[in-house]
Symmetry: none
Amino acid sequence: MEEDISATSAPRRRQARGKRRMAQLLDAAASVFCKCGYTKASTNAIAREAGVSPGTLYQFFPNKEAIAVHLGERLMQQMLEAHGQAFTDANVSLPLDKMLDAILDPIIEFNLRNPAFLALIHGPDTPGEIASSKQVLHATLQRQVEEAITLRAPELPHDQCVRVATTAFVIFREGLSLAMQHQGAERAAYIVELKAALTGYLAPTIGTEAHAVRH
Amino acid sequence: MEEDISATSAPRRRQARGKRRMAQLLDAAASVFCKCGYTKASTNAIAREAGVSPGTLYQFFPNKEAIAVHLGERLMQQMLEAHGQAFTDANVSLPLDKMLDAILDPIIEFNLRNPAFLALIHGPDTPGEIASSKQVLHATLQRQVEEAITLRAPELPHDQCVRVATTAFVIFREGLSLAMQHQGAERAAYIVELKAALTGYLAPTIGTEAHAVRH
Amino acid sequence: MEEDISATSAPRRRQARGKRRMAQLLDAAASVFCKCGYTKASTNAIAREAGVSPGTLYQFFPNKEAIAVHLGERLMQQMLEAHGQAFTDANVSLPLDKMLDAILDPIIEFNLRNPAFLALIHGPDTPGEIASSKQVLHATLQRQVEEAITLRAPELPHDQCVRVATTAFVIFREGLSLAMQHQGAERAAYIVELKAALTGYLAPTIGTEAHAVRH
Amino acid sequence: MEEDISATSAPRRRQARGKRRMAQLLDAAASVFCKCGYTKASTNAIAREAGVSPGTLYQFFPNKEAIAVHLGERLMQQMLEAHGQAFTDANVSLPLDKMLDAILDPIIEFNLRNPAFLALIHGPDTPGEIASSKQVLHATLQRQVEEAITLRAPELPHDQCVRVATTAFVIFREGLSLAMQHQGAERAAYIVELKAALTGYLAPTIGTEAHAVRH
DNA sequence: GATGAATGAGTCTTCATTCAT
DNA sequence: GATGAATGAAGACTCATTCAT
């Protein structure tokens, strides 16, 4: 608008650089969160890992938590882009064990590539601070689980559905965490256990059979 | 009070006072860990809560983690004293649901009275520092679970047994955590879910029937 | 609007835009200085308030203090334009109380509309940095007061005149400040006190009677 | 009590050291406040000036403002100790000019020795932050002025008395500030102006004559 | 002229730990 | 054993200013 004659205007280029920096910072944050956990990850360390000064970090994020929130959002979005079909009706109507495979396998695979996911989903150990960082992932995933359960067991009262989803979610989270703490065959074996746990827990509530869903 | 001239020798008295101080400090630590979580609990805060100076604290514990470790040990011991019979053969040979009631109810009740238990069992969110603090409770409880499972399913390969125990343990830990985050009826409902999850998970492995055990 | 193709030449247009920008920035600065005081007003905040980038701000002012200086100059100029007749011979020759009314009332009224005036006239609390910012307003006003006093009391030695002017000026400044800290009737009452203070101070030196002045 | 046989017990000695450190820190703060003003005085600078680490400073004061408050309190106390008789009935009943001499001279002299007084009484330039630091000195002194005025002019309505005291106080403060900015004869001359200003302002309200006061 | 990213020293404050008494 | 002062590195965050585009 002002003075640009070039094809890609200056403001646009600047904006692009901004996006790149944010990505860079989020990458660094992911790395540091993994190494140290949320609490011990320092903003200065994140900046250093990103190769920028602390001031730069704060040009993009107002505080440490915002970094976690953005990272969480980016992770969620990437996961949905990569495996958005996990919670589709097609999957949800499969027999329970197939359904769990269809839903969990992509998520697990995503976690292997993005270990920051687990770091975030655990958040700080401080009781009060339920941590918006945690919230983002938590809320989104849990809503999906709730929806899936509602589809499979429409007669379940809402509050009970919430409890089941919540419980299923923490089982998933901790089972995954366990798996990630191991390698190779052991990890695979823990994933088997995780699925067994979810199957065992959910079967009485939502049944094991294939199940036509309709909204 | 302090300097009584009773028959008991001076060293013994000193030792007794030491025990009292440690108990005092551990009580304070429990309280602070509950309020703040492990990471944000400062040794100064613990000392203040105990009504002693930081220097005194370090006369009994070499560092922050040692406090957590000792607290964990004391909690374990108190739990065993109060509910040592939880994992007895009698209980372990009950039908699965009865067994879970028999084992979990005392532990849950103990947690209600000692919320520091949960704070410790979660420990710092720092990955590396899987925290000897956590370890104490973890290890002890898990061993008990392993034993129980071995009794119920002696043919299970050892490594599989470990995985099952580990998985069952995290389900228990997180389910309990969920319950403690709620109150009254909601808490009770979450406990029901917790038991349902464990039942569902363990039934295929260790069976639901009563089961005579023998060492 | 910006890029109109009118007769006026490009450089002139650019210069006009420059003036507009400066005005814009000074307005923003006035607003921020009022809200935060000189010290806590950040250049970034001023730029933001003006709706421009920090870089742009520094294209017009070499540093924070220059902004204050320019703002001071603009305020002085606006005040002279609006109430330039305050220190005219006609006013200065009035009886003391009428003279104070004639001089102070417009200035006070100007301050009501331009509260940045007070913010500037106080400047940073830093001793060394008696602050050119402050200086501008200070110097100009004080010179006028000196002139008025010289006219009323030509026989007064110069250095004494300076002291009287200086003292009268700070009385005025702080009295005004006090008035601005209150509202409505209370403010009016403080203005009465301000005038009483100046009358009481100046009467012995420059007399209360009307006084023909001549240069 | 515990193990001390010495004349001055260990705890007492420790407490003494604490007091000494606080005094040391307040001295340092006074010095830094004078050099830099309240706003630019950094807690680290104060600690450095006191020859201790930042942590030590925070063992005695919870934050920067508390330092200022304590310093203000100490200054007030020292002033009262040194010149507590300034506002006595004897002085207040003198003729106005004698009264001002009797009251102001000691205060002025105190300021010469404790220039931090002025730094504190001005406080940060931030508008909102009326600064408890400032408050301490302000409030105490103003109350004394109010009392003196009430004694001299008992018929004055209370709110008017407050305004007069407030105005007189700021005249004093700024006049003193002016004097402190100069040296030698010039300073003396400014003190003369200060007294003239107060005399001129107060005479109409509280009269110039000696005045028997009674409570 | 305009932009906004980049800087980096500096601010206040905390905390695990040590040490003289 | 007990005290509490002392430490100092570290943390989150700010801001005047510069620079590439």
